[in-house]
């Protein structure tokens, strides 16, 4: 095989393609083939075994799970290098034509949760406009396009926005008191199903198109997607912070997640270019704050140097 083969998350895909393209242009190795298909497929293919007809690197928008590592090991894929390539910011944006928003997690919880606490009692959520949720917000119909349950983004959205909002708004306490700890967590994260919260199983372009046909909608996007579509989207602040690579890198903007690539160590030295590609990926010129990835919207890892070191040393996971 002449090219490195990479598969996995569609969130990591654009970054990988940028790197692959540059890698192909600037080295003697072939341009790696980057497949999309989701973190799950990527890791599944990664863990299918060692050999020419398995992939070398998996893109993932989340950390590999223990069960997956076990499965990998069962198929003979034992030495896995985990490489964190940076962070992905998750932003809330609406149509340019509409009002602008300054949200807090609690707003989102109160707007989208199936059950909310009103006057200390748990009631079904009937809020119809953002102003009902928080008088400071615009009086615009609630219509949120949130990532479907297949997206890793949804996990972050659930944890960092909805669960956070549940806690911030004090609903968690009430839920815990009424339902017990476990049920309370579930109750926090159950979204309403009356059409105000629309799951998007497609990608950000679908969300964008839906905002196009329903201009009241507010969508959840990746930072880089928003940055490429600033002419049609306006971004909302979260807890007063405007999302940008800087605010996310500094940790001010709360909603973000790390992105990874997993490298099959057994392929290093067998498939030409595997290690070189990984090194190229996290090099300063590429993944640094001034590199093309950052320009595209990837939040550069503040600890990039240690990542580079780990790749150079071929450090594997334990």
């Amino acid at each position: 095989r002449e090219q490195v083969q990479v598969a996995g998350s569609s969130t990591v895909l654009p970054y990988s393609t940028i790197v692959a393209e540059l890698f192909g242009e600037n080295t003697d190795f072939g341009t790696p083939v980057i497949e999309s298909g989701g973190s799950s497929t990527g890791l599944r293919r990664f863990c299918e075994g060692v050999g020419e007809n398995t992939i070398d690197i998996a893109n993932s928008s989340r950390q590999i799970r223990d069960s997956e590592v076990e499965e990998c090991a069962a198929n003979g894929v034992t030495d896995i290098m985990e490489v964190r390539i940076g962070y992905d910011g998750i932003v809330f944006a609406s149509a340019q034509s509409g009002a602008s928003f300054a949200f807090t997690p609690a707003d989102w919880f109160n707007a989208l949760s199936a059950k909310v606490v009103r006057d200390g009692a748990i009631v079904d959520n009937t809020a119809a406009s953002w102003a009902e949720v928080n008088p400071e917000l615009a009086d615009q119909e609630i219509l949120a396009f949130v990532p479907g349950t297949r997206h890793g983004t949804r996990e972050v959205f659930d944890e960092k926005v909805i669960a956070q909002g549940c806690e911030d708004s004090g609903a968690l306490e009430v839920f815990t008191a009424e339902l017990g700890e476990e049920e309370a967590e579930a109750a926090c994260m159950t979204l309403r199903t009356d059409g105000r919260s629309v799951d998007i199983d497609g990608d950000y372009t679908e969300t964008l198109a839906r905002i196009g046909s329903s201009p009241n909608g507010i969508g959840v996007f990746g930072l880089s997607f928003y940055e490429n579509n600033m002419d049609t989207l306006q971004v909302a602040t979260m807890s007063g912070v405007t999302p940008s690579t800087e605010t996310i890198a500094s940790g001010e903007y709360p909603v973000s997640r790390p992105l990874f690539i997993y490298v099959k160590k057994a392929h290093i030295g067998v498939i030409p270019g595997v290690k070189e590609f990984a090194e190229f990926f996290v090099s300063d010129a590429i993944a640094g704050p001034d590199g093309p990835l950052a320009a595209y919207g990837l939040v550069s890892d503040p600890e990039l140097a240690s990542v580079q070191q780990a790749v150079a040393d071929e450090t594997t996971m334990q």
């Binding site: 242009e25 020419e52 007809n53 940055e227």
Partner: protein, 445 residues
């Protein structure tokens, strides 16, 4: 017999009786329904094709920038020995700087006054792909270093979008990736003849490009990939499908066993295409050890997916051939095989061809099964000529469409529609022969 009621009450044939009028009205209505149905179908086709062409025709035109570039030996060949191997150590980033400098100089030479124009705006006019193009050119001919050459490179996607109406001054004001000043500069450069919009052959020949370079993305690899896959499908699916149908329809004894096969085939048609991807991954890649992302695997999977369509269509067509024709042939001592191949098959050919057209159309446009066998991928390198090329990684036209519709840069919308146009043309070319043959074989008896 004498007391039969009369069919027609009216004496004159010129006058239609009430019942005939009613029946004729029903006839007219029925005809109108039929025509309406066709008009609906054709209108939908027109609407869809119109939107595709409207959105996609832009992909066939592209804005180019032509400037003289001084190839600075200091930057490009620090050691000064013109050794291509050493010069390869110079990254595209450096070439980018060379280009930026050249453009700055060119703009400065024009002596323009544009408010708010920053140096970043000027550099932003050039596509990120340009540096790679220049590097390739220099590495191919190291003696160029030190000279000043005229280069013709792609302009950035936003600038291109400006000339296609996608980007306006208004949106540029909101967009961090461009600025009104940059657009004004672009206008000036057009006047100066440095920026031109012309036919974009690269769209058809170039490989895919990353998110940052929509202007450089093309369907070259995808066309090859689709072509290879369709070759495999055509070579396998049509003969296998027709052979299986002939066996089932003409030879197989009517038994539970053939019922089973029949239901089975009908059921395969209902299997979601992604499941064929799962099958392909399990059987062709993991079991048979064929390479992933390769057109051969894609072709095999699509063959399995298309087979039911072809078989169902072919069986229906075979069934429609009147038995008297078979009797006639058998009666002069033709074997069943001869009867089928000499008489039945030609008469069933229109239906078989229709099944082939529809099956291939489906196969050509399908993405989901390719997802799991690694063909929904970013592939920059062209596969070799067949048969080896069948085993090289390649993309496919629907994959390119699928990928591009997911990209964040709005410039890819146009590319995706452009790829759809290419796909439809591909489909038409593929079907043309079939349609011609079908007309030739069509007859009533």
């Amino acid at each position: 017999m004498t007391d039969h009621p009369r069919a027609t009450g009216a004496k004159s044939l010129y006058v239609q009786d009430a019942r005939t009028r009613r029946r004729n009205a029903a006839e007219k209505r029925f005809r109108a329904y039929g025509l309406t149905a066709i008009v609906i179908a054709c209108t939908m086709l027109a609407v869809l094709v119109f939107t595709i062409v409207r959105d996609g025709s832009g992909a066939f035109r592209q804005t180019y920038l032509s400037i003289p570039v001084a190839l600075d030996a200091q930057v490009l060949d620090p050691k000064g020995n013109r050794d291509p191997a050493e010069m390869a150590g110079v990254l595209t980033l450096s070439y980018g700087q060379v280009l930026d400098r050249a453009l700055d100089a060119a703009v400065a030479g024009l002596d323009l006054q544009i408010e708010g124009l920053e140096s970043g705006d000027i550099d932003g006019l050039i596509s990120r792909d340009a540096s790679a193009q220049l590097r390739d050119r220099v590495l191919a001919d190291p003696d160029l270093v030190g000279q000043t050459v005229d280069v013709n490179v792609l302009a950035n996607g936003r600038i291109d979008g400006y000339f296609k109406g996608r980007v306006t001054m208004e949106t540029a004001a909101r967009d961090a990736n461009t600025s009104p000043a940059q657009l004004m500069l672009a206008d000036e450069l057009v006047k100066a003849g440095l920026l031109v919009t012309r036919f974009n052959a690269g769209f058809l020949t170039a490989a895919d490009a990353s998110d940052q370079r929509p202007e450089a993305a093309g369907v070259g690899v995808a066309i090859l990939g689709s072509l290879y896959m369709m070759l495999v499908v055509l070579v396998l699916a049509v003969p296998i499908g027709v052979a299986a149908s002939i066996y089932l329809e003409e030879f197989a004894p009517r038994s539970r066993w053939t019922d089973l096969i029949e239901v089975n085939i009908a059921n395969l048609a209902a299997v979601p295409s992604i499941v064929f991807g799962i099958l392909g991954l399990a059987v062709f890649i993991n079991f048979a050890g064929l390479p992933a992302s390769a057109p051969i695997v894609g072709g095999l999977v699509l063959t399995l997916m298309t087979l039911p369509t072809i078989i169902i269509a072919t069986r229906a067509a075979l069934k429609a051939v009147p038995p008297s024709i078979r009797d006639a042939a058998l009666g002069v001592g033709a074997s069943r095989m001869q009867t089928v191949f000499h008489h039945v098959l030609p008469l069933a050919a229109p239906g078989i061809l229709t099944g082939t057209i529809i099956g291939l159309a489906q196969a050509l446009g399908e993405t989901a099964p390719l997802l799991l066998i690694g063909m929904v991928a970013f592939v920059r390198e062209f596969p070799a000529a067949p048969p080896e090329g069948l085993f090289d990684p390649a993309s496919a036209l629907p994959v390119q469409v699928y990928n591009w519709t997911q990209r964040s840069d709005p410039a890819f919308v146009e590319r995706a529609s452009g790829a759809i146009i290419v796909l439809l043309i591909f489909l038409l070319c593929m079907n043309l022969l079939a349609i011609f043959l079908r007309r030739k074989f069509e007859r009533r008896w």
